[in-house]
Symmetry: C2
Subunit: 330 residues, 2 copies
């Protein structure tokens, strides 16, 4: 079956010369005075990206906005403004439109990013599209900036959202599932805007990408765009404590969720050797999340995982909507 | 039943202080050096805004882009760039994604507006969202700029798209229907970007709005936003020749399509008395479309139609997706 990334190639070939700048977390525009703007769009589709029996409308609004803010974060941009487009059945709107927008608005206020307009359509299924515009003080960070010898770092702890999905699939939205720490990672993720900007002014960053498609797949995107190989030391992966707990409960390996789970908005960064290490303590004290060296960029191509000192090619499964059964997703 | 415009009010109240600038064709952003950017988003939903048995995929792509470019036109902005989000079933994509994007890309090239990125999702129904960013040389034009005594003008000839829809509904997508001049107005509308910018530098414009919701409804939006009444002289309406022909064929009044039809991207402008009249000949020679004085702005509220020298309140039916049966639309 043809996957999402193949479709994107086909579309880019249709767009021809007008389709410039496609292929990073966000498009980069240069303003008339040389300033750098970045711009992104993301759609959440009911029953593909989320299920209303698993996620409150407020959380859907929150996640819809965070998906776009996270793209800006990965480019080193500060959010400027947001537009939304919501399509939904009228009876759905009557019950839940305010709750969805309240979730979205709370997150927008928190990010200092006004919602300046939107579009509303009747439709058979709920689709929430958010487009966000941001501005970079210097150059935009991209997924193509990694060089051999760069260290590979990741923010936060991984695997929580995928663990929560596994738990929901097994046990349903029971109260103790919804109260689980892993569920909180699914329902209330954060975009790492301040974290990336903080590092950008202090470290020698190479490539940056958010890992909303999953660590392995997004590491693959960095490898492809940068022309390097990425090596991930599985033993160093910062696995979310909630994901660890779910792993014990379901007799599953939380490392798989951390490697391939996606649906989270941490960022993978590469940096010149030694340029991040001295900053870790201050970073973790400032932001209250971890910053972990998980591997290196080397000459070559693709992604390798190192486990017990043995390197093997890593399956870079990405979150690919077209290769996933229709009822999967949050 | 609650209509689209009521929902928008409810959403704006949820957004609170973060929901600034909502309510014109596009949002207005002021850049760091005082420059004016405008930004819009529009979604086309299959079976609400279009039907694939009535419209080729190329025409859907074209219309999706024109809906957003027309919003920029109404603000007096030049398009800078576009992002798209397409959600569709995988089997639909296999057959038609390239044709949709070829239609969109051809129109983008024609407008000098690069498509800089996009998002692609699996979904049960086809939804195409386009967001466009534009830049104004001076101030942004708005629907709130009409003053009493302004003349009311409209570009182009009206009613073609609605006539084509009536014909399709009655006779189906037969070859001679698809070859009809009115159908061309439906399938290949143009955004009046150059026309508005040309007038902006030469006339004293008041309010500007595109009439994609229908002339009567959009005149009502100008009246509300400007705090004036708009009077439309029905005898002066420039009715599309194709719409006239369809009217005779279906024994229907094309004036109704011109007044309420919508789905077209002409613009209504108000201007200080005498400031457009001397420009009409040059405008029509330059752009190959008509420019017609159809009424005036006066003290008061709402929209009135003048017919045989009698003024009556005009029903400002707007294109309201939520009050329309699910299978209507293009």
């Amino acid at each position: 079956m043809t996957g999402e990334f193949d479709w994107i190639e086909r579309i880019v070939s249709c767009l021809g010369p007008s389709g410039s700048g496609i292929g990073d977390d966000a498009a980069v525009l240069t303003g008339p005075d040389g300033e750098t703007w970045v711009w992104t769009i993301d759609t959440l589709v009911e029953r593909v990206h989320f299920r209303f029996d698993w996620l409150e409308p407020e959380a859907v609004g929150h996640r819809g906005l965070v998906a776009s803010l996270s793209d800006l974060a990965a480019m080193g941009a500060e959010p400027v403004a947001v537009l939304t487009a919501l399509a939904a059945p009228p009876d759905w709107l009557a019950d839940r439109v305010e709750r969805l927008y309240e979730g979205l608005a709370a997150t927008a206020r928190h990010a200092g990013c006004p919602v300046v307009g939107g579009d509303l359509s009747r439709a058979a299924e709920v689709q929430l599209t958010v487009t966000a515009l941001g501005r970079c003080e210097g150059r935009a960070l991209t997924r193509g900036g990694a060089r051999p010898e760069d260290e590979v770092w990741v923010t936060g702890a991984l695997g929580g959202p995928a663990a929560a999905l596994a738990l929901l699939a097994r046990e349903g939205p029971k109260p103790d599932v919804l109260a689980h720490a892993a569920y909180d990672r699914l329902a209330r993720p954060a975009a790492r805007i301040d974290e990336v900007r903080w590092l950008q002014t202090r470290a020698q960053l190479g490539a940056v990408i958010d890992i909303s498609d999953g660590l392995s797949g997004d590491a693959g995107h960095v490898a492809d765009a940068s022309g390097v190989a990425i090596t991930i030391d599985v033993g160093r992966l910062p696995v979310d404590a909630g994901a660890g707990d779910v792993g014990r409960r379901l007799n599953a390996d939380p490392i798989e969720w951390a490697l391939h789970g996606g649906e989270e908005f941490e960022v993978l960064l590469t940096a010149r050797p030694g340029s991040i290490g001295p900053l870790v303590e201050e970073f973790e004290a400032t932001f209250g999340i971890s910053l972990t060296a998980i591997g290196t960029a080397v000459e070559g191509a693709g992604v390798q995982k190192v486990e017990n000192e043995v390197a093997k090619p890593l399956d870079t499964k990405s979150w690919d909507h077209f290769a996933t059964p229709p009822d999967s997703g949050v």
